[in-house]
Amino acid sequence: MNRLRRYLPAAVRVTLGAIFIYAAVVKIADPVAFAGSVAAYKILPYFANYLAAAVLPFLELFCGVLLVLGYRVKAGALIIAALNVVFMAAVASAIVRGLDIDCGCFKQGGDKTSPWIALARDTVFLAMTFVVLKLDPGARRHPSPPMQEQ
């Protein structure tokens, strides 16, 4: 149990970081296609789709690297949590508006990912972020106070 408590947060942190690095790299490799995926949500005006497609993958990349390295974990995890909330809101709005689009979460083009699957996946990522924020020692700047002596 102690071992699980010791290694689980680190494993979750590195996994989450690696997922975001992968997501970022495939988007950076094809920014036009990612701009298309962002535009398909019909939320942002024309140029903002390109701006989001240019900036978001780098934000994912930097935060992913920070999580993998265990450096500035709290800041990186908080940004990833915020990104996940934004992604979930966008996917939910696509479901509500009945848009038949690919979520654009990872590899651009190819088979469509159901928005419900995307939503479930983002929920898992958000839960992983909370595990990191709550349990990973890197997310705490100060050690916990010792137990009070009886």
Binding site: D30, A35, G36, A53, A54, F62
Partner: protein
């Protein structure tokens, strides 16, 4: 007295922590935004001016000639000056529901079987053709564009924003008529 036993000290430390975390978040966002803008500078400046975006289709075999992408503003200019023939690559139902005014329908399925325009439309081989479908996530326009190029049409463009972007920009649309 230990530091964590002092309430005021704990408050001060928490405040300081919060400030540092917010500062770190701001710094990460600034660095990411700068890197993203720098990395995609030509794409962003092109998009800002409404220019056609660079083609990014790594799956295309080397040597295959691809239609050039074209942006909303150019499409509007060429539409208004009647310099180009607009081709709608969506199906008949979507076309009837709404299409760019003056566009000709040529769904991908039909183009694969028999690449011919409706008899009422005369499209010479040297005409400038702009193919569109249902926006960035729709690839039928690119496929129809490739088929048109293979059929000998020399000047073929793909409008990636497609009908949704055109309609949302408030430009003229028509309904019915296939």
């Amino acid at each position: 007295m230990r530091a964590w036993e002092d309430g005021a000290t704990i408050d001060a430390m928490l405040k300081r922590d919060r400030f540092i975390t917010v500062a770190e978040i701001c710094l990460i966002i600034i660095i990411s935004a700068s890197a993203g803008v720098a990395w995609n500078w030509s794409l962003l400046t092109g998009a800002w001016r409404g220019e056609a975006t660079q083609q990014a289709q790594p799956s295309a075999p080397t040597g295959e000639e691809l239609p050039m992408p074209i942006g909303l503003m150019q499409v509007k200019e060429m539409h208004d000056s009647k310099q180009a023939v607009l081709v709608d690559a969506r199906n008949a139902a979507s076309f009837a529901e709404g299409h760019i005014t003056g566009a000709i329908i040529l769904p991908l399925d039909q183009a694969r079987k028999n690449l011919s325009f409706p008899s009422s439309a005369k499209v010479p081989k040297d005409a400038t053709i702009i193919v569109y479908c249902n926006g960035f996530s729709c690839h039928d326009s690119m496929e129809v564009g490739k088929l048109l190029m293979q059929a000998g049409y020399a000047s073929v463009y793909v409008y990636e924003g497609g009908f949704p972007e055109w309609r949302d920009a408030g430009y003229p649309v028509a309904t019915g008529g296939t």
